[in-house]
Amino acid sequence: MENRDVLKNELEKIPWFQALKPEHLEKMTDMAHLRRVKAGELLFREGDREDFVYIVLKGRIALDIFIPHRGKVRIYTVEPLDVFGWSSVTPVSHQRTAGASAVVDSLIIGIDSEKLRDECEKDHDFGYVVMLRLLKIVSSRLLVSRLQLLDMFESPEA
């Protein structure tokens, strides 16, 4: 079990958490836990129930989608300070849309999605900071998806 101070200390290092008021940081700490994952370790599978949103502190987490006859396609890697599993915070999703596993030994923070959602609902000031951040992540992820979709390196006459 991780020490709460260590956890809080790690949270404070994340730039966007610095925008949180002290009491909000406390709330966040209550919902979060540190987790170490070994290279190759599976965090969740596509279709799993969503429970946590994650922030990478160290290492690299891969998001894969399994395509029949093609196997696992790695669609995105999450580097330190980036977020994954963010759709678990939205009210509509209930299943993981991609699988996640550690590419190298990694340290991540998991935040209880349900608690986070409830807290945002109860305290809109807190919720605003969180949602603004999620919006930023989603828009960046959309851009990446678009550029991948465009297949910009495709050989024109292939």
Binding site: E79, L147, E154, A158
Partner: protein
């Protein structure tokens, strides 16, 4: 009738021959990725070899008799006067014919043409190279130049992306570059279970680096769509447009600002380009189909 007019003197003694190439032999072929290879060339005439000098970012017109010419950027070390590398993707009429060449075959060369990466202006600065796909070959001479004069440059970063891991150019060299204190970061559009590197696209990784806009120059080359977002990310980090350099590609036939094909606005890309400082292009860079 007193006199006839004075005969007209012919004052053009040697009119020269337009587009006349020099001949070079293929000395080595290095496959780089699927449909891409580096052709190492050596001029047949040794004085041509000695006289040939180029700056990083410049290109040659490579001629295959019967097929035509293609503009190919030079991808080798500008200090190496023994051989000249052209990294070629087989996509057009000429380059597909190139793919059938063997060691010992002869091709025509004209060049070098065009502008170059501003290597001396970059001295004392941090250099952030963001490129994708076959946008790396035109930047490799700049990397060599930096390596040979590493102390003259600040922090040097290469952020490079390709479609898949097997499309990455020059993977064997990344370690050499890293040893020369160049931070090489590689990303692919799509990975597989064996790929342990990054998956994403070049522009999104900007967030991962600390870029000091006051002393960083950004060099970019690759698909135009990637270039657009690289510039977007650089500008979002307040890198001034005067510190962003772009290498562009257009259809080229002459290399001398004459045939007209490569025009983009007021520029002949073969002459004023291919390397531009972004403020020179900014007013029309996002105009569709311009």
């Amino acid at each position: 009738m007193t006199t006839t007019a004075t005969p007209i003197q012919n004052d053009i003694s040697n009119p020269g021959i337009l587009l006349r190439p020099k001949w070079a032999e293929v000395t080595e072929i290095t496959p780089e990725a699927d449909g891409i290879a580096t052709y190492w060339l050596r001029f047949i005439n040794s004085s041509d070899q000695q006289e040939f000098h180029f700056n990083p970012g410049q290109f040659n017109m490579l001629y295959l008799p019967g097929f035509g010419e293609a503009a190919i950027s030079i991808s080798s070390d500008p200090q190496d006067h023994e051989k000249l590398g052209h990294t070629i993707r087989f996509v057009g009429n000429v380059t597909r014919a190139v793919s059938r060449l063997k060691v010992g075959d002869v091709v025509g060369l004209r060049g070098p043409f065009g502008s170059c990466w501003p290597m001396s202006e970059l001295e004392g600065k941090d250099v952030f190279i963001a490129c994708g796909g076959i946008g790396l070959p035109p930047l490799r001479p700049a990397i060599y130049k930096i390596m040979r004069n590493r102390e003259k440059y600040g922090k040097v970063t290469l952020l490079y992306g390709a479609r898949t891991s097997s499309d990455l150019m020059f993977p064997r060299e990344y370690e050499v570059w890293r040893k020369a204190q160049i931070d090489v970061e590689v990303t692919v559009d799509r990975g597989d279970a064996n790929w342990s590197g990054r998956v994403g696209v070049v522009p999104m990784w900007f967030y991962h680096f600390r870029i000091d806009p006051r002393k960083t120059a950004v060099l970019t080359c690759g698909p135009e769509i990637m270039i657009r977002f690289v510039i977007f990310e650089a500008m979002a980090r307040r890198v001034p447009v005067e510190s962003i350099y772009v290498s562009l590609e257009r259809n080229m036939k002459c290399g001398q600002g004459s045939c007209g094909h490569c025009q983009m606005g007021p520029y002949f890309i073969c002459r004023e380009g291919p390397v531009f400082r972004f403020d020179e292009l900014q007013s029309f860079f996002n105009v569709e189909e311009f």
